[in-house]
């Protein structure tokens, strides 16, 4: 993690891009006026808010990022169906559990993204992150195999994240 210089024209390029897209989405248009305005806002708002961000490792590998996002979305859909069935079914069949997932990534943003992903996907909710950021506590709605699950989380989500953030 590098310490950031005091002023940069594009302090948060990813944010800027995101903002630009969001602006167009908000206005539901690609009219030239909004392109200009969107670009302007995408420049100005990060300038205003860059101070309000804790320094984070930067994104790399946009492709991996994209693939990761698609995978998560797919997982969300699947997870939802699973959970839906579990919910409809008799509660007695449920096999809830707490597990602790050891973490290899350390920086805050990646951990947050990992925890979020875990929460969004297979019957799991990130309940807590240990103070030393070494452990992610997860509540599982219906656990079949603990080690498999931990391995899945680490393999399927943590690894690509480490790749993306290069840590």
């Amino acid at each position: 993690m590098k310490s950031q210089p005091r002023f940069r024209l594009l302090p948060m390029p990813i944010h800027s891009l995101l903002l630009f897209v969001v602006w167009l989405l908000l206005n539901n248009t690609v009219a030239p006026g909004h392109l200009v305005l969107g670009a302007f806002l995408a420049l100005v708002i990060p300038l205003l808010t860059s101070g309000m961000q804790s320094p984070q490792p930067s994104f790399h590998k946009p492709l991996v990022t994209f693939r990761y996002a698609l995978m998560v979305i797919a997982d969300i859909i699947v997870a939802n169906f699973e959970v839906a069935l579990l919910v409809i079914g008799p509660s007695k069949k449920l096999n809830p559990a707490f597990i602790a997932v050891p973490l290899d990534i350390q920086y805050e943003l990646p951990i947050t993204i990992l925890a979020s992903t875990v929460s969004l996907t297979p019957g799991t909710v990130s309940a807590e992150i240990s103070e030393d950021k070494q452990w992610l506590y997860v509540h599982v709605l219906h656990m079949t195999n603990k080690d498999e699950l931990i391995a899945l989380i680490k393999q399927r989500y943590e690894k690509p994240l480490m790749e993306i953030f290069e840590c």
Partner: protein
């Protein structure tokens, strides 16, 4: 309106609504807080996704240009739902809420509560 658009929209609508409903149903019927926590935070994401997709398709069709701003709401929900769940889980552990008997490794919640390592 073309039939297939109406069909797709209708399917998305009903599917979304069903997920919304299941989420709320889970909230109502699941045995303890931690299990209840799963239902809405997940089901609603997909449920909302369905409804918003229906809306996006319909609006695009009706207004004649691409309407994707519903995506924003989905995006928002995707970003915030895990945090909400996390915060709620924290409160639950803080209040030492009763955990349903069958839960594996109940003791882990105490470690989590203190934000300690598992052992």
């Amino acid at each position: 309106m073309e039939f297939w658009i109406e069909l797709v929209v209708s399917v998305f609508l009903v599917a979304g609504a069903v997920f919304v409903f299941i989420g709320s149903l889970g909230l109502a019927k699941l045995p303890d807080f931690y299990t209840r926590l799963h239902a809405p935070t997940k089901a609603t994401t997909l449920g909302m996704g369905g409804l918003l997709a229906a809306s996006a398709i319909l609006m695009t069709y009706q207004q004649g240009h691409l309407s994707l701003h519903e995506l924003l709401i989905t995006l928002f929900l995707l970003i915030t739902a895990p945090v909400t769940a996390h915060m709620l889980a924290k409160t639950a552990m803080h209040h030492k809420l009763q955990i349903t008997e069958k839960t594996v490794d109940k003791e882990l919640s105490k470690r989590a509560r203190e934000r300690n390592t598992p052992t």
